[in-house]
Amino acid sequence: MSYTVRKFDAVIVGAGGAGLRAAIQLSEAGFKTAVLTKVFPTRSHTVAAQGGVAASLGNSEEDHWHWHMYDTVKGSDWLGDQDAIEFMCRKANEVVVELEHYGMPFDRLDNGKIYQRPFGGHMSNFGEKPVRRSCAAADRTGHAMLHAMYQRNVKVNTQFFVEWQALDLVRDADGDVQGVTAMDMETGEVVVFHAKATIFATGGAGRIYYSSTNAFINTGDGLGMAARAGIPLEDMEFWQFHPTGVAGAGVLITEGVRGEGGILRNSSGERFMERYAPNAKDLASRDVVSRAMVTEINEGRGCGPNKDFVLLDITHLDPATIMKRLPGIREIGLQFAGVDCIKEPLPVVPTCHYQMGGIPTNYRGEVVIGTDSTPVKGFYAAGECACASVHGANRLGTNSLLDLLVFGKSAGETAVEDLRKNPGAHKPLDTASIDRTLARLNRLNTQKGGSSVHETRLAMQRTMQKHAGVFRFDTLLKEGVTEILKVADDVARTEIKDKSNVFNTARIEALELDNLIEVAKATMISAEARKESRGAHVRDDALDTEETPNGRDDKNWLKHTLWHRDRNRLEYKPVQMKPMSVDTIELKKRAY
């Protein structure tokens, strides 16, 4: 199989919020920048984001970045790096205002300022009471954001390669990154994008679970590519289960519904969150709400014939408010649950939603490896595929869109700085990593008597759902490791019947599965090893004692996991407890 080479200053994989934001930085600085994307940019998964983007603008009531920082550290269950968190919260107003200048049509207050609404875990005055911090554009926040940034990119001449699938990272013998190999879906042609700066912004991998709010596109390609190139994955045991996926379909009901006054009820109609989070109630942090829901269900207070969901009630809200502030929610209820939420409550269950872990980076967007966080030359990452780590063990709603803007920009800025320092020619291409891509494609094209992509993916999703869900058990996790490694063996021998080159979706999906399985292994193995509860990782055997509040064991486990694909080796690196300018937010028991 042959390939051609194309040279760029920078190649960005991904045209969602993070990729588009990074690209603006590079193209504006005059660097020749290619953006590769599997789908048209404004069909990236960021489009699905409805709730909004967090910034302590204080348009409706007093707010401060330091309060936002406190909430984010607390939300992360102290696993987030406090330097990166300070950086993000301080930058929030700047990037939101920039976005406004790119043309983002935010909802407005009567005085013309950006309308803000409350969101889970966002509080004023260091955790006192909910605060209005989320900026939204009706239910199309993500969509409007991508449009604004795509237009900006067109203006500054970013070169888009739409319907191209990046396959592998090109990393030379020194460990430096030199670009990616990619396939043009339209022709099946393989091209090496040779670049001095490579930025991954490939989004999440929520499809490793059977029940997920994520669209099918979220297959963790960046994580798979990084893992195959010897880059570890950080904190992959931490997956956010969103409290309100429609029972069955998994389709998300935005947290904005609870922000506007929606209430969770059990089978006896009780507003049970009052017992679990007396202060924040239904707007407590997502992991707290999800756990409360599963506890209600496990203790027999679930609803429906199988008592396997709870209810999200907005029947007390003015229908006009629902239609104005939460458009689209009614239709989701009608179509996927057969329920009119104006008259009846919606059946909901915690559903896999967001990956807190990812490719390890620092706040500058540089990919870093080892326990001392050494930057990998030429390699940057941002957005859901990256772990900066601002979300730690649990992300707050609306902090992801903020992460895309802040760290997309930061990764772009750092790449610009590095390119300016290094104006010389590209380092000669390392062909060994290109050969590995070709061998992988060749294996897939010639496999006989192999496994089915569909069946194997399903086996992976069921294994993850059963063995690494909202509550985790030692024996289930141990069995889960054995099971997922078995599934991985099947992934290594997938077979496709259709060998054609033009829009061969069977091949695309097989290649995506190669990536999903790396994420699944990383998740299961990291989860099995972490013997405490923290944020979204909750083990039933981690006891709530004075020394280990809520099962969190800071003495032994206040550290980031790094999973290596090679022999599934784990190492750990310290959490950055020192912020940039303010005092450390000291460890304490998390309660809402």
Binding site: K38, V39, T42, R43, S44, H45, T46, V47, A48, D139, R140, G142, H143, E163, M185, E186, Y210, S211, S212, T213, N214, A215, F216, I217, V246, A247, G248, A249, G250, V251, L252, D308, P327, G328, E331, I332, L334, Q335, F336, A337, V349, R462, Q465, K466, D498, S500, V502, F503, N504, T505, I508
Partner: protein, 91 residues
């Protein structure tokens, strides 16, 4: 299916990969019923529908929006039956 048809179907199938899970569910069910390809009018209508933005397609399917285009209206309405709740895993 000849190569040219297969290529066209492949492209359409890929264009059904959307940003919204709602649409993925609908189109997955749709293709499961059309494994052997589409008739010409459906192919044309689907190509046109897929050129719209995700939220607009979804609004046409769920009936929240209307479009002055009988072909797209008919296709969108026929897609509505595919809004199914995929069965949850037994717990």
């Amino acid at each position: 299916m000849d190569d040219a048809t297969r290529a066209r179907m492949g492209r359409l199938k890929w264009h059904c990969r959307r940003a919204l899970l709602e649409l993925d569910i609908v189109f997955q069910q749709f293709w499961a019923q059309h494994e052997n390809g589409l008739d010409a009018p459906t192919e044309t209508a689907l190509t046109r529908l897929l050129a719209l933005e995700d939220h607009d397609i979804w609004d046409l399917i769920n009936g929240r929006a209307e479009i002055d285009d009988p072909e797209l209206t008919e296709l969108a309405e026929s897609l509505r039956i595919h809004c199914v709740a995929t069965p949850l895993e037994p717990r």
